[in-house]
Symmetry: C2
């Protein structure tokens, strides 16, 4: 069956420009290769085995997943080297984690003795120890040990724990602060050496500072996620231009109640309420300077003050969202296009894997 | 199979206190009965045939859906009287709308001649005309004709259109302004009468002003949605108390990186980034005064400044979200509980029906 053209897609729908996505993968891989810094892309952005395989074929050393459910989907699809940078806590999840580890090369993170204790209990007696990295808070203020001394102490706990192997360090860094991440890693590595421990893997992440990833010289790998699609936020960070962005939400104008207001059929159920600090919730690609300024669940409010005659009921527009990853999670399928031609319609296999 | 207890549910998960939900339905129905104002609940909040049937059994005259996909799911589940207050635009959707109308009692809205033209083309030759209400913007600033004169003009267009029947008026009102909605409706009804037209149905909506719905005396029905679950926002509006809220997100503390920060495994993929103008993204039920203050996709940041020893890794908490409806849309299943007993696990049948 011919999947048709862009004009035939019912709205709202996620449209992925596959040529742009592949170019984004290649651009990052070329940068990484030039700096000798392996990539381990985060699949949370696309949640698709198709692109995970594309990332591997183009040079990635493995993939990153954020939840066990994402890892299970990727393992089912034949991905074999998975990093899960999350504290896995609770009996059910630890059981699933062990099952996943038995069929993949799996590593995880921990940032507390409590998490390590659970992991150790779950992997006691396993054929292979579970590789555990210490999550470090190098400035993001989310998870992670707070100091190199804490990192070393936790590494020693992991090293002694039955069923586990200390494998290294991981950070999800604050944006614009590679130097802080490098300093944290370097001090910790020295501390570990003094304790006779080696961080085999030092994993750094994030797309906003992707082109500065080489500044974190301690890193042995980088985990970019959003780079494959990019979005309004990443454009503001200079990671790419609007013309590099691969994911848009196709929408239809359903109302033109006033001269300056259009309503499209893509609301928070299609775009999410994520602003990432930007004005509006998305940019209308076809009408430069025009934003989706407010959202209800099924209504996007388009402010046409800058282009009062810009849109009519029935017009179809593409909206560049603030944050691509969260949009992927809202749709059961995405449409891959090349130009105006739909080349495939893919189920978002790892959508909704919250656990 | 015994679905178990609250303690056995893996996190993050949506938990619905079925006793509270039924009490909320009953309370609203009793109010509506006392005022002789029929209810047509909006199923966007729960997206579950189970609760749609419960609302009907407890006295609703029909249900409201926001997208055709929601209507299809509800029709498949045996719901027969559907109101779809949305401008249906585009060939594919109009085809599905006609198919849905052939197996249900269906009405829709329109706010432009363009929308009416499409509806008329789709329903020309239908056995029964499609009932079309004019959507009125009585102050919300979303869709809808802007004045009673525009409403009358559009009603006349609908009345003349092949395949359609003018059925009345509809508004999604601004919060706290029942008087404005009443004034708009009353003036329009008078205008229509002068043109020989009658608004058989005058449909008003919303939960925030549910207990003032009777002030809109022109209304022949009210469409509350969130009232069945309630949420933090509705509590601030005085619709109910925190103890009336039926939907919470069960989460696990996965990190305690600092004395004042806990991280739970419910992020924006579980709670959404909707603030509805409130501080934070949810309240931790077990620790009064403590909020989820920030979100990543899989991480909820809990600010423990007010309760530094309040939570440990592995603790399970229930989070009352700002906005219940958007949470329903993120989960494949919800857990119905009575006290601590899980009485059922239901697929969210109408989840993700964006079109």
């Amino acid at each position: 069956m011919h999947p048709g053209t862009l004009d035939e897609i019912d709205t709202p729908a996620v449209v992925i420009d596959v040529d742009r996505a592949m170019a984004n993968i290649d651009r990052a891989q070329a940068y990484a290769d030039a700096h000798g810094l392996p990539l381990r892309p985060h699949i949370k952005t696309h949640k698709l085995p198709f692109f995970a395989h594309a990332q591997m074929e183009r040079g990635a050393i493995g993939i990153t997943v954020q939840k066990i459910g994402e890892g299970e989907v990727m393992a089912d699809a034949g991905l074999t080297d998975l990093f899960l940078p999350y504290n896995i806590v609770g009996t059910d999840k630890l059981k699933r984690l062990r099952a996943l580890a038995e069929r993949t090369t799996l590593s995880v993170t921990a940032d507390s003795a409590a998490t390590v204790k659970g992991l150790s209990a779950a992997f006691a007696g396993a054929d292979r120890p579970l590789a555990v990295l210490v999550e470090c808070d190098t400035g993001m203020g989310r998870c992670g040990v707070q100091t190199p001394a804490e990192a070393r102490a936790l590494a020693e706990i992991i090293d002694r724990a039955e069923g586990l192997a200390f494998a290294g360090l991981m950070a999800y860094p604050a944006v614009g602060k590679p130097a802080e991440t490098q300093a944290f890693f370097a001090e910790t590595i020295a501390d570990l050496a003094a304790a006779g421990l080696q961080a085999r893997v030092v994993s750094n992440g994030g797309t906003p500072d992707l082109w500065r990833a080489h500044e974190v010289t301690a890193a042995t790998e980088h985990r970019p996620g959003t780079y494959i699609y990019l979005d309004r936020y990443q454009v503001t960070k200079g990671v790419g231009t609007a013309d590099d962005c691969a994911l848009t939400v196709l929408a239809t104008v359903v109302s033109r109640p006033t001269a300056t207001r259009a309503i499209v059929d893509a609301g928070s159920k299609a775009l999410t309420a994520d602003t990432l600090g930007l004005p509006g919730f998305g940019a209308v690609v076809e009408v430069p300077g025009v934003l989706v300024s407010a959202l209800s669940e099924e209504h996007g409010f388009v402010d046409l003050a800058a282009a009062p005659n810009g849109l009519s009921v029935g017009d179809r527009v593409r909206i560049l969202p603030n944050h691509a990853c969260v949009v992927s999670n809202l749709f059961d399928v995405v449409h891959l296009v090349s130009g105006d031609r739909v080349v495939d319609v893919l189920p978002v296999a790892a959508r909704g894997r919250v656990g």
